[in-house]
């Protein structure tokens, strides 16, 4: 005799199977391909098809934060991104006099739709999702990982990676920051791992960890705005797959390849490295830990 229970379980299994068959997986879409167009010859110096003929309009948010800009004034050429923007302009054949700055909020700059700028510089990470709405230039900055701590902590004066060996460090799970702890610093204490940077920050404030590793932009923000007595101990060497910052252009802009070429040249001739040293690692910035 087949009991009711047997019937029930068999029925359940059949139902589960039906459900399984019902959710056959969606096949992968072909990855959206970034279209690199336009040959290199169409970048006549100072005569690009810009918003205003003969002028280059560059967007950024207001306020524009240190150390990417200085004194909330992109026009002064101080701060890393302001300096990069002027160098790119120079390469494209626009003297500083022919650069116009315009204020565009972060979200507006990456929203689809007409743009009020030729390119925008505002610590935009290059992501496939954003590529659906805008163009990116070649990366002008590879985000570095940074150790931050609080005044008076035992690693506050660390100068080298070896100085951090004995520290109790924390980082967010699954991030390049955590990778930097285990691959570069290799501390003798097991690092603390947190669900997010806010938890890590709380642990730092409580003193349950001596320092935490975050990316440099986050480090600047945390130490300036969020942490009382927060200090940047220093930048770590490049590790893992870093986040990349790119200049934002309108989707399908004819300028994209010209701007990318300019950025590539700045990287190759070492200008970007110099600017990074000057504005990000220099006075008040984040010194390098070797």
């Amino acid at each position: 005799m087949v009991s009711r229970f047997t019937l029930l379980t068999t029925g359940g299994a059949v139902l589960a199977l039906a459900a399984l068959a019902g959710c056959s997986p969606v096949e992968d879409n072909a990855a959206p391909t970034a279209s690199a167009s336009a040959s290199a010859d169409v970048c006549p110096a100072g005569a690009l098809p810009t918003k205003t003929a003969g002028k280059l309009t560059i967007g950024t948010d207001n306020p524009a934060y240190e150390p990417w800009f200085s004194d909330n004034d992109p026009k002064n050429g101080k701060g890393f991104e302001s300096a990069v923007a002027y160098q790119v302009a120079q390469r494209l054949g626009y003297s500083p006099d022919n650069v116009i700055w315009t204020s565009v909020t972060f979200n507006n700059a990456i929203a689809p739709g007409p743009k009020a700028f030729d390119f925008d510089v505002n610590q935009f990470s290059i992501t496939p999702e954003r590529r659906n709405a805008v163009d990116f230039s070649s990366p002008y900055y590879l985000v570095r990982q940074t150790v931050i701590s609080t005044k008076g902590s035992k690693i506050a004066n660390a100068k080298t990676l070896a100085d951090l060996k004995e520290a109790k460090l924390g980082a967010q799970v699954g991030t390049t920051s955590y990778q930097a702890v285990t691959d570069l610093i290799k501390p003798s204490n097991q690092p603390s791992v947190f669900n997010n940077n806010d938890d890590a920050k709380a642990a730092l404030v409580n003193g349950t960890v001596d320092g935490i590793v975050v990316d440099l932009p986050t480090a600047f923000y945390m130490t300036a705005a969020e942490l009382k007595d927060g200090i940047i101990v220093g930048q770590l060497p490049q590790v893992g797959v870093p986040e990349q910052f790119g200049l934002v252009l309108d989707k399908g802009s004819t300028l994209t390849s010209c701007v990318s070429t300019a950025v590539d040249q700045l990287r190759q001739d070492g200008t970007l490295a110099v600017l990074e040293k000057t504005w990000l690692a220099g006075s008040g910035g984040a010194p390098e830990l070797q």
Binding site: L20, G174, Q190, S192, A202, A203, N206
Partner: protein, 287 residues
């Protein structure tokens, strides 16, 4: 019964019939299990995405590396050692705390009202509070006070688990205590036992025996939840699996950790079933 006993024909027929039914139902069970198993196997392995699922959930190399640790990823086994230590300590402490609170809640007399009220408030609050929040409050709140001699976050997280599970266990113990018939207490008191000795020798032994299955059940639940301590920073087995998963973009480490947790819980689950069965047999001894 004597050796000359011969079952009647009807009895023999009955035995034979029963045996036939037993064989038949065993065969049926085996057949239906086989059918369901084959259908499941075909359904899963025949699905268009099976190869992909197999590659990202059942990769042997990744499983071995995640288990033993490699490069700079923590090993799941060393994380599991933290889980095991926490399980043993937290279970013992939570059982003790639960029993204490249950006894306090069942105290009689107007003088002990404040104690009862406190114990009741405790069970009400901590059964309602999600464990995650308690761990956050303990592991991030208490060190924030910056008091001298604050224990490590691991100890604080363990305390959060003990306090939360203590509240559940207290209610189970209380149910057990209250299930002992009042006549038992009356009889014990009339024999001249004090309240304390009545509890110890008459009420609690019966109460605890009655609620052993639910107590063990809560203990199994505690075993899994000790992993939430990773919220506070320490790397337990699940966190180790998560880090391995993030590093390899493969979910096999989770499967490995899951299997380990099941293996860990099996003995306790077995004991629970056995205790439940024994209790049921004893209670229904007449039937």
């Amino acid at each position: 019964m004597t050796g000359s006993h011969k079952p009647s024909d009807i009895q023999l027929e009955r035995v034979a019939y029963r045996r036939k039914r037993a064989i038949r139902s065993t065969l049926l069970a085996a057949l239906s299990t086989a059918v369901v198993g084959v259908l499941l196997y075909l359904g899963v392995t025949g699905s268009p995405g099976w190869e992909r699922v197999k590659a990202s959930f059942l990769d042997w190399d990744i499983a071995v590396k995640a288990l033993t640790g490699r490069d700079n990823y923590p090993s799941i086994l060393s994380g599991l050692w933290l889980n095991i230590r926490l399980m043993v300590i937290c279970t013992a402490c939570a059982l003790a705390l639960g029993l204490l609170i249950a006894i306090l809640r069942t105290l009689r007399g107007p003088v002990t009202f404040p104690v009862r009220a406190l114990a009741t408030t405790y069970t009400y609050s901590f059964r309602g509070l999600p464990l995650i929040i308690v761990i956050y409050l303990f592991a991030f709140g208490i060190p924030g006070l910056r008091l001298q001699g604050t224990p490590s976050v691991t100890v604080l997280g363990a305390a959060a688990i003990v306090v939360t599970y203590g509240a559940y266990l207290a209610e189970v113990f209380r149910a057990g205590i209250e299930s002992v018939h009042p006549s038992q207490v009356a009889a014990a008191r009339s024999l001249g036992l004090s309240y304390r000795r009545t509890m110890r020798h008459v009420v609690l032994p019966q109460a605890i025996r009655r609620v052993t299955p639910p107590l063990l059940n809560d203990t199994v639940a505690l075993q899994k939840d000790v992993g939430l301590i990773s919220l506070a920073g320490p790397i337990d087995a699940i966190r180790a699996a998560q880090i391995n998963q993030a590093g390899t973009a493969n979910f096999t480490p989770y499967v490995v950790a899951g299997v380990l947790f099941v293996l860990l819980a099996l003995p306790l689950i077995g004991v629970t079933d056995w205790v439940t069965l024994r209790a049921a047999r004893r209670q229904n001894a007449g039937n």
